[in-house]
Amino acid sequence: MTSKGALVALARALAVAHGPDGIAVTCVAPGLTATPAARAGMPAAAFEAVRARQALPRALVPGDVAATVAFLASDAAAALTGQVLCTDGGLVMR
């Protein structure tokens, strides 16, 4: 997913360039989220194996991403820009 790395770089560049304009630019990096497309793309056993490696071994759902996006869009996130928040159940540490 090289294109995703490009988006992270683009977000940081835009965050620096347009922060003074009051524009915050952030990324949300989902882990293996249970969507129909993701389920169709890999065997169920492989899906479960990834879930078991998460620090929080619950199934990740689209709402996990949406809740984080809504937070980043809200006034509560006024101090956040140029960051990547991983909604991955802690897979990033493993």
Binding site: M1, T2, S3, K4, G5, A6, L7, V8, L10, A11, L14, H18, D21, G22, I23, A24, V25, T26, C27, V28, A29, P30, G31, L32, T33, T35, P36, A37, V61, P62, G63, V65, A66, A67, V69, A70, L72, A73, S74, D75, A77, V84, C86, D88, L91, V92, M93
Partner: protein, 138 residues
């Protein structure tokens, strides 16, 4: 929370599972949500520069502004170096990266003029997380 002007949120990929969930959540949080996808409020092929420009203009014509841009659309393909089809690579870059750039370029001037804007890219932690790992382990 009510605001003087309801914020307009454009969600690419809003016809998909994650984009759809984002659209519903932002609607519940008092945003006017415009779904930009192959199907949706503003139908568009995000891999086509002309269509992306026209779609952005349509949002500005119809809703007058974009305060929040969420890019959740993604083309997906994987191939090893030897089998990589450059046309497929370019298509993925166009949908995933260039459309985000074009939409940001269309909406940032208005955001800057109003002094408020949020741009949020939905990416993936499947391949990129080394810096995060370093940070989490120190």
């Amino acid at each position: 929370m009510t605001r003087p002007v309801r914020r307009v949120a454009v969600v690419t990929g809003g016809a998909g599972a994650i984009g759809g969930s984002v659209a519903a959540t932002l609607t519940a949080a008092d945003h006017e949500v415009v779904i930009m996808d192959r199907t949706g409020d503003v139908p568009v092929d995000l891999g086509d520069e002309g269509q992306v420009r026209a779609a952005a203009q349509r949002v500005l014509d119809q809703s007058g502004r974009c305060d929040v841009l969420v890019h959740a659309a993604a083309a997906f393909d994987r191939a090893d170096l030897a089998r990589l089809d450059l046309a497929v690579w370019r298509r993925v870059q166009a949908v995933n990266v260039e459309s985000a750039l074009l939409l940001a370029r269309a909406f940032v001037p208005g955001m800057a003029a109003r002094g408020f804007g949020r741009i949020i890219f939905v990416v993936s932690d499947t391949v990129w997380p080394r810096p995060q790992r370093t940070c989490c382990r120190t």
